[in-house]
């Protein structure tokens, strides 16, 4: 049986540098930082005082207050980004077979704040549990895909992938395969995260993953810079409508890109540190190229995982060099986390959108905040430092790696 082709027909984004796709893209192209001091809680006693928070989001504009209060913020973000993507895809919900539309969402953590608030409240009492009946449904990670299905009546495959910061790419690859096999006509994929909370910042501070550059939040996320000192937490969501090619054509949909392959692997090495030789990253990228059936030389741009951590950044580049050889120096590479911060489980979602818009505009978004070269990083890589670069882009790769050693990589191609 021949596999069916899968295309992207809708995009939605809610990010620290833009609450919709056009704003997000123009700020990516302009090299804007989304970082600032944390406003969501008093972080003055934490090691890190800043994050890339969302700005000016009025949830009740999208979700009735009565519904919204039964959801965690990560589900609000999921619904807001999905709404933009569904509108963008110009779906006629009465004309499509909604039983063949799935929702596969990614979240690294789920409703962290809901958990935190309820337990703080419990700890203030005398030990008698007075747990809110909506506590579990707010918190569990799969509530995002469930809520999306209820809103639109999409009755196909529905679940959430949890593989830390690789979550969305796993969701995208699962959906790719279901559509290829003819099990779904369409699938809403994406990811959302809302971990700028006491537990989120405190927890990632405790394992020393976050930047502590409190005197300069905007320059803290500096992948590949010599003085990088950890990632900057981001929050938000991205959503993509994946659709079987002929289904998209028959309804005259605008086609942004073809999703031509996905690769997955595991480091099988350490719960937080990446494999010292980048082995898992290498295997995952190789698997993605094989799945897409393309040669390494066909990749024009890699949107890296590149979180701005001292260990992770060079190891990913090591893996890229191992797989791509001299071509590593001919392609463009950038980490848009320099601008958005690290959206954890939603990173793959907003970065897939960055890749697709990069192809549309033939413009590579930059790795901002480059001040000092790192001797550990080969200067022959074109890391697209500080300003966007125009180039011909036909095929792009987006990498996502997660605590636990999960690697998930997707490849998109410009529609011919």
């Amino acid at each position: 049986m021949a596999f069916k082709r899968v295309v992207v027909t809708g995009l939605g984004a809610l990010t620290p540098i833009g609450n919709d796709v056009p704003t997000y893209w123009s700020n990516l192209a302009a090299g804007m930082s989304g970082a600032g001091l944390i406003t969501k809680f008093d972080a003055s006693k934490f090691r890190t005082h800043f994050a890339c928070e969302l700005k000016g989001v009025d949830v009740t504009q999208y979700i009735p207050r009565q519904e919204a209060r039964k959801m965690d913020a990560f589900t609000h973000y999921a619904l807001i980004a999905t709404e933009e993507a569904v509108k963008d895809a110009e779906l006629n919900l009465d004309a499509i077979d909604k039983n063949k539309v799935g929702v596969i969402w990614g979240s690294g953590i789920g409703g962290l704040k809901s958990f935190e608030d309820e337990m703080i409240d419990y700890a203030k009492g005398d030990g008698t549990p007075r747990i809110n009946p909506f506590f579990i449904v707010r918190m569990i990670a799969d509530s995002a895909s469930g809520q999306i299905s209820m809103r639109y009546g999409f009755r196909g495959t529905n679940y959430v992938t949890v593989s830390a910061c690789a979550s969305t790419n796993n969701a995208i690859i699962d959906a790719l395969n279901y559509i290829r096999l003819g099990r779904l006509n369409m699938c809403v994929v994406g990811g959302s995260e809302a971990a700028v909370t006491k537990a989120g910042i405190g927890g990632f501070n405790a394992n020393r993953a976050l930047s502590e550059r409190n005197d300069s939040p905007e320059t803290a996320s500096r992948p590949y810079d010599k003085d990088r000192d950890g990632f900057v937490m981001g929050e938000g969501a991205g959503a993509l409508i994946l659709e079987e090619y002929e289904h998209a054509q028959s309804r005259g949909a605008k086609i942004y890109a073809e999703l031509i392959g996905g690769g997955m692997s595991s480091d099988a090495y350490h719960i937080t540190a990446p494999h010292p030789d980048g082995l898992g990253a290498f295997l995952g990228m190789q698997d993605a190229l094989n799945d897409a059936g393309i040669a390494p030389e066909e990749i024009d741009y890699i949107n890296t995982h590149g979180t701005s951590t001292p260990i992770g950044d060079p190891q990913e580049l090591k893996a890229i060099y191992q797989l791509f050889g001299e071509h590593s120096f001919k392609m463009n590479i950038s980490s848009t986390k320099s601008m958005t911060g690290h959206l954890l489980g939603a990173a793959g979602a907003v970065e897939a959108i960055a890749c697709i818009k990069a192809m549309e505009h033939q413009l590579v978004p930059p790795t901002i905040n480059h001040f000092t070269d790192d001797d550990e990083i080969d200067s022959r890589f074109n890391l697209t430092f500080n300003t966007a670069q125009e180039r011909s882009i036909t095929t792009v790769m987006s990498n996502a790696f997660g605590f636990g050693g999960h690697n998930a990589i997707v490849i998109f191609r410009k529609p011919s």
Binding site: P64, R65, R130, P133, V137
Partner: protein
């Protein structure tokens, strides 16, 4: 209207997102005010918190309307 009745009304308006005018004594949480079973559990818990009064499960099950809630609370508070 008693102080208790007003507080009960406020909680219902807040939690169920309904207009105060809909919150009549005979209004049923599920049939008239759009509550599902979880909403009802939440309402009882809010009453317990607001009035610092534990409501046993077998009693809570009987409180299905605004009037029954007010009646129960008025009877048990301060005794």
């Amino acid at each position: 209207m008693s102080d208790i009745a007003q507080k009960v009304k406020n909680i219902i308006v807040e939690k169920l997102g309904v207009e105060e005018s809909e919150v009549t004594p005979e209004a049923s949480f599920t049939n008239d005010l759009g509550a599902d079973s979880l909403d009802t559990v939440e309402l009882i818990m809010e009453f317990e918190k607001e009035f610092n009064l534990p409501i046993p499960d077998d009693e809570a099950e009987k409180i299905s309307t605004v009037g029954l809630a007010i009646e129960y609370l008025e009877k048990h508070i301060g005794k």
